[in-house]
């Protein structure tokens, strides 16, 4: 299905003594198709071959994807459980010894049971991630709530997709990251992309983006930096970090004032138009310009193009979402599509660029503090009843709502949370305000970390459990389109490593909770239970079988039964998921970032990614090619700003905020605003820019404001050559 003009029938190169295993990349939400080359004599992964027959990416891969296979048989893999007896060494790599699984499990069970006896069930917590299959994400939720019986579970999507989820739930009543398949992108007439460094973070979208311009369509990009995609945009809205909502309101005002509102659509399929129209009146091009720093004529031109375009797609990413008003920014930009009726048909709609590989599926199936499988809510008794039935527990046994990822560190400080089970995440690099976060990890009574490398967060653990890479297990993930796809196993787990779902089952058996877990013998068993648990929820996966995924090149949710082909395009019937079937146009008063520049801290610090690294860099910093291309972080500074501070290209500076400091090499570039500096966040220890970022949270999504805080630079005169 959806084989478009980019799709070509191409045979793969096949070497003797090799098989090709069809699968997808381990990294971002694009989930590019790839073939892993497996040696049939050693049964080991030895390389990669493009997957030309995957309709979304047709063989294309970014440098992370090309080298992803090198993770699996990497020298840094943890091959056996590790135990550290000397707690004074926490926060370092030192003191770990190899142990058997039995010894590691026994130690975990002893400590977990002791903590729960002394301080109650909720003294334990689970902190998870979404760079793993739906099966694992689903079982992690059940592990916390049924296995450990704690309310405290949350996940790293709080630093990633939580604002998009909140915004979509409010605007549409449902949170599917894209209202349309990616194979529509190149056929639209205007792409409006806000806060997405697409060329570096989702590179395999780029051939479709450029194709829009090649057809004579328009590209509008809102970003404080002139990123590779902004460089070629028809209009680059170079706004101050943290001012997106003003820009969204300003453009919406122009769309309404200039007659681009679709009255029929607005009247029949939305609520909230009049109130919003009144609110945005204030956002004239001049006032919007004052707030955002974008020239009024650019704002006018952007609104004109979006308004005139027969079809347009509004897209955004972490740039707008990692703010204390991330949810409002999402609904604010979504307003553009709802007011003009450019949604609910092919080639028009709204999409977020999902960050993690399973950022979509992983947030739907019960790893969130407030959510249960199928996007059900834990504070809704009917929802609890449905899931409790599948899990074989009484509804009363279901733990209550917990707290968000960053707030868990607060509870660690208060000693409410004393034990932590961490998997698939590296908060010692990825969380904001790291001096504080690392202190809380260090002060835990007992911490378990499941990972395949010794991450910066694993350095705080008492026990490290060796888990598998994505290529040593099978299961499904849901890509950034909302398309559920299949990850295939290419080799047996290295050393004694085990997939996380198996670790959960074995641990629960030892915790005396085996009757809820022992029937899960394979990833498919977990998958079948998860489909059942999602049945009837907003995100209904019941009809998504592995066979159907294979036959259809993936299945878009919702997919309610065996005969349902799934839902590539959302809202084709103009029915939204709020009870009255209407979408909500949101009136959103502007508010500034939590911390504005002042005399002491006059610069705006923003953070982001480079094309060579993924998230905390725990995986990509170990891959030779990627490390060679970007071995260390740097701070981007505009030449005029650099001159004020008397800093030259490649000199070292101390960058500091109210929360922390770090030293970086300066990269002079005109491709950034004069009032803003940028540092990539993929690096650990004293190189982490998150030592400086702020822990201020969006009131709805609990997303920290990674994208804007106040900072200052000091030139380092005598920096020794490193």
């Amino acid at each position: 299905m959806q084989r478009d003009k980019f799709f070509k029938e191409i045979e793969n190169l096949r070497h003797p003594n090799e098989t090709l295993v069809k699968t997808h990349c381990s990294y971002c939400g694009m989930q590019c198709g790839m073939n892993l080359r497996v040696n049939t004599e050693t049964n080991k992964i030895i390389g990669v071959e493009p997957r030309y027959d995957w309709p979304v990416t047709v063989g294309k891969m970014c440098p992370k994807g090309v080298t992803a296979y090198q993770q699996t048989n990497h020298d840094d893999r943890i091959l056996k459980p590790l135990i550290r007896d000397d707690a004074s060494l926490k926060g370092t790599k030192e003191g770990f010894r190899e142990a058997t699984w039995d010894e590691a499990y026994d130690l975990i069970v002893k400590n977990f049971q002791q903590l729960q006896r002394d301080y109650g069930k909720d003294s334990l917590s689970v902190y998870s991630g979404v760079s793993m299959t739906n099966e694992k994400c689903y079982l992690t939720g059940k592990f916390a709530r049924v296995g450990l019986q704690t309310r405290y579970i949350d996940y790293n999507g709080r630093f990633c997709m939580a604002s998009a989820a909140g915004g979509f739930m409010r605007s549409f009543g449902v949170d599917r990251g894209s209202t349309l398949p990616w194979t529509d992108l190149h056929e639209t007439d205007c792409l409006f992309i806000a806060g997405s460094n697409t060329a570096e973070c989702h590179p395999t979208s780029m051939f479709r983006v450029w194709a829009v311009q090649e057809r004579g369509g328009y590209l509008i990009v809102a970003d404080p930096r002139e990123t590779p995609i902004a460089r070629r945009a028809d209009v680059h809205l170079d706004l101050r970090p943290g001012t997106d909502l003003a820009l969204a309101n300003g453009i919406l005002n122009l769309l309404i004032q200039n007659g681009y509102a679709d009255e029929e659509f607005v009247n029949n399929h939305t609520n909230g138009f009049e109130e919003t129209k009144e609110l945005v009146k204030e956002f004239t091009p001049e006032y919007t310009s004052e707030l955002t720093g974008v020239a009024p004529e650019k704002i006018i031109r952007a609104a004109e193009i979006y308004g005139k375009a027969p079809n347009a797609i509004v897209m955004f990413a972490r740039g707008i979402e990692q703010q204390v008003k991330g949810v409002d920014n999402v609904s604010g930009y979504t307003n553009m599509a709802l007011v003009t009726g450019k949604i609910g048909r092919p080639k028009a709609g709204v999409a977020t660029f999902t960050g993690q590989g399973n950022g979509q599926g992983g947030r739907e199936h019960g790893q969130k503090a407030d959510a249960l499988p199928g996007y059900r809510k834990i504070n809704n008794p009917e929802h609890v009843k449905a899931v409790a039935k599948v899990w074989g527990i009484e509804p009363e046994e279901m733990p209550k709502e917990g707290v968000s990822a960053y707030e868990m560190f607060g509870l660690m400080e208060q000693k409410v949370i004393r034990g932590l089970y961490l998997l698939c995440s590296n908060p010692a690099v990825s969380a904001p305000n790291l001096n504080y976060v690392r202190e809380q990890l260090k002060n835990l009574d007992f911490m378990v970390c499941s990972d395949f490398y010794l991450s910066e967060s694993a350095e705080f653990a008492d026990v490290i459990l060796p888990t598998t890479t994505w290529s040593e297990d099978e299961g499904t993930v849901t890509n950034l389109e909302g398309r559920c796809i299949k990850i295939n196993k290419a080799q047996d787990p290295l050393g004694e490593s085990k997939p996380d779902w198996q670790i959960h089952v074995e641990l629960c058996e030892r915790l005396g909770r085996g009757k809820y877990f022992s029937h899960l013998k394979t990833a498919k068993d977990v998958g079948d239970e998860f489909r059942l648990a999602s049945k009837g929820g907003y995100a209904d996966y019941y009809g998504i079988t592995w066979d159907k995924i294979e036959k259809q090149d993936g299945v878009f949710w919702p997919c309610k039964d065996e005969n349902d082909p799934g839902t590539p395009h959302m809202f084709l019937d103009k029915k939204f998921y709020h009870p009255d079937g209407k979408a909500k146009i949101c009136a959103l008063p502007y508010r500034p970032p939590a911390e504005e520049p002042d005399e002491e801290y006059p610069l705006r610090l923003t953070t982001g990614r480079v094309v060579y690294h993924y998230l905390s860099g725990n995986q990509t910093r170990r891959i030779n090619f990627l490390r060679d291309m970007c071995p260390e972080p740097y701070v981007e500074v505009h030449p005029e700003t650099a001159e004020q501070y008397n800093i030259k290209h490649e000199e070292f500076v101390r960058l500091y905020t109210r929360r922390g400091e770090a030293e970086y090499k300066v990269k002079i570039t005109e491709a950034i605003r004069k009032d803003t500096v940028f540092v990539p966040y993929h690096f650990g220890h004293d190189k982490s820019i998150n030592l400086l970022t702020i822990g201020a949270l969006d009131p709805m999504s609990r997303m920290p404001e990674f994208k804007a805080c106040a900072a200052q630079i000091e030139k380092l005169e005598l920096k020794k050559v490193q």
Binding site: L13, V48, D189, A199, S205, E214
Partner: protein, 186 residues
Amino acid sequence: MKKRLYLELENCIGCRSCLAACTQCGGHEERNRNYVYDVNPLVNRQTMPLMCLHCVNPACARSCPAQAIQIHETGAVLSALVEKCIGCQNCTIACPYGIPKFDTEQNLMYKCDLCIDRTKDGIPPMCASVCPSNTLQWLTDEEIEAKQKQFNLDNGKWVTSMPYLEGETNVRVNLPGILQGVTKLF
């Protein structure tokens, strides 16, 4: 059907996936053989790939005193033959594009062979297979001709500037830029 490597320089996003992919080609010993340049790094993010253009009458091969650089029947200008290369580096000086690289330890020149183990059977080279921005494409002459018409170029010099440098090449480069001559939809 013969296909060629075709470059639309303006599409380049600087991801260097082509270089990563180059290391994955069977005969490449995990060393990449081409280049991606930051055009003006202190100013903007513009980048461009510099790939071997596989000249019809290649200066590298002409300059080789040992006939170590063979031309494959597909037109691909191959890497130096290990048994013939004398390490004189004439080729690195002769090539107007600076393509051949030199391994001082092995005293051996190595360069892009257009993934000959793939392209001899009509499979696209690794770089063009993975390129996320369609800067590098693997196209038939008909497809290239259609592109030439589509962009309605005004100077007729969209193929690697013929009378200059080295003359006709097997690789085609869209020099004036992909958006030149594009009519906006509205």
